[in-house]
Symmetry: C2
Subunit: 343 residues, 2 copies
């Protein structure tokens, strides 16, 4: 396999740079064909690399002392963060030095910088944030998860096209099914922009792959491979699902702490619990993708550990290896641009 | 205790009238001070009451053969459903014969008819649908869950006032905390109507009870007692939470079926599982409340069983017994109507 290069923002996230370097070490084992550029202060990264000699062989430090604050406003990060670890990682992708960038830093800043450094793909008005999530049938993709709080029909149609290309390249599906998130499955339900977008998708852009409207419970049911929504609704849905999963896990723990019999039961069932926990482990689904850009950028959860960060790196590797960018460029060129009234 | 009368739509829901009558029988045991009016075909209800002689003593059948179809469009149900079991139950509340109505029928039709038959409270532009849900800290209330897909700042402020009154009367809290659902906790986040509503709530309508913006994961965490949102977002969040809970329960079942050891563990831990299941049992949280009307109307889930229906009846009883209507009327009269620009 041809070697590929990933640019890592070594200073993004709550536990940087430790988690980033340890995550890269795990990723190196999984993907021996990857070289890493690590952006951040040499003095902080070098001692960590000294303890990971195999990683050190395939990693290069690109020194900078500038770091984007976790709570920086995107506009300020964009103006003042020109030499930051986050921005330099994106610049490496823009300049063709790396095939993808991964950061666990501030999402808003990353999106703003990525739009500026990588530019959006021709035919895409606004990039979106996408992620995988577990379903009863396997895995699905949802977008937008928060980049655009207000979306018109045209944005939603483009998100559907981006999600389709993403599911085909990364989930390996030949004709992924796509649904628009709404408050009911009937055609006349919901907001006007949804009805217009549904019409456009049905008539042209996606044809039979478009299954119409889906509801909140269809997300986890896996009714469609790609769930399309505006960034406000997607963000609330994602966080509601995370919160619910946490609540239920808490209830389960409480129940098993409540009696001696339950504790004995737990001992017998420990492998079953381990399997269960693995399936709902949020680290497994770490890695939100900035879709619609002229380059690959992946956002890791800021609070994740090395394993979670390695999974975000894995998403970036998948996108590079499966030629996501060529695929989406081809799709956007082939499709007649949808004529959609702003709504 | 003074006796109260509830009007039940005996023909609403997937398993009517059986579930309604059996649910009323369970509710009768819990609330011996309640009389029931059962609206529906005499020929279908009479045989069921014959098998529930104690319920028969406190129940009166009000015959009608007209039933609102589960998939009827609200506007058509409103025009053609004048003599229906759903409408007559609401009329009984409007005319003071009953103190509350409960239906497991078509939500849209119920809301349309309730607005027409009961009218909205003075000072309320649009009624909302509210429900309880379990949290890490107990129970909270969320509204709107789907009555209004588009809401302006004024609607959101009114929902906050309705939710506050509801939490005080039914959850028994003296100063419930209230949050507006958004995509971030910072003041400048999200849509404009949210920022305006937050300003109004902070400055006057709720004062210190208003804790600002909350995010999707705050719903299950129980960060606030009342979560306020538009009907589109609320509907998606509610169904996403339900879907996630179902997915995780499915994963858990799979894990315990996977090995003999796990099955042995399950036997020991059965009481723990029973306790866990009870805590996440959706029947426990059945009963969505139509808030903002000049009368009490509760919507039961259409697919619930008798226990779930009895819980919806319980919500109606709570609202009557704790004087919800007087409380909200007092609140709305006391508050200076919030001056909110349409957004």
């Amino acid at each position: 396999m041809t070697r590929i290069t990933l640019a890592l923002d070594a200073m993004g996230g709550d536990h940087a740079p430790e988690v980033v370097v340890k995550g890269a070490e795990i990723a190196r084992e999984r993907f021996p064909f990857v070289d890493f550029l690590l952006f951040g202060p040499k003095s902080a990264i070098e001692p960590l690399l000294a303890r990971a000699p195999k990683l050190a062989k395939v990693a290069t430090i690109r020194h900078t002392d500038v770091v984007v604050a976790a709570d920086a406003k995107p506009s300020i990060a964009l103006r003042q963060g020109r030499g930051s670890s986050m921005r330099l990682a994106l610049d490496a992708v823009a300049e063709g030095e790396a095939q993808a960038a991964v950061s666990a830093g501030n999402t808003g800043a990353l999106m703003a910088m990525a739009k500026f450094a990588l530019r959006t793909l021709p035919g895409v008005d606004r990039p979106a944030i996408a992620s995988f999530f577990p379903t009863a049938r396997g895995e699905s993709v949802m977008l937008d998860l928060g980049a655009n709080v207000d979306c018109d029909a045209r944005n939603l149609v483009q998100f559907a096209q981006l999600g389709d290309a993403f599911a085909r390249s990364v989930l390996g599906l030949s004709r992924p099914s796509v649904g628009l998130l709404n408050v009911g499955a009937e055609d006349q339900k919901g907001r006007e922009e949804l009805r217009i977008a549904a019409q456009v998708l049905r008539d042209g852009a996606l044809g039979a792959q478009f299954l119409g409207f889906v509801e909140g419970d269809d997300i986890a049911a896996g009714t469609v491979d790609v769930v399309v929504t505006d960034g406000f609704t997607g963000n609330v849905a994602l966080k509601t699902a995370e919160g619910t999963a946490r609540l239920i896990s808490g209830f389960l723990k409480d129940s098993f702490r409540a009696s001696l019999l339950a504790k004995i039961g737990y001992i017998f069932a420990r492998p079953a619990f381990a399997k269960f926990r693995e399936r709902v482990d949020p680290r497994r689904y770490n890695g939100a993708i900035l879709l619609g850009l002229n380059g690959i950028a992946v956002k890791s959860h800021g609070g994740t550990d090395a394993l979670g960060f390695a999974n975000a790196v894995g998403v970036a590797v998948d996108m590079v290896v499966h030629g996501f960018l060529d695929r989406i460029r081809g799709d956007l060129a082939a499709d007649t641009p949808p004529v959609v009234a702003a709504s």
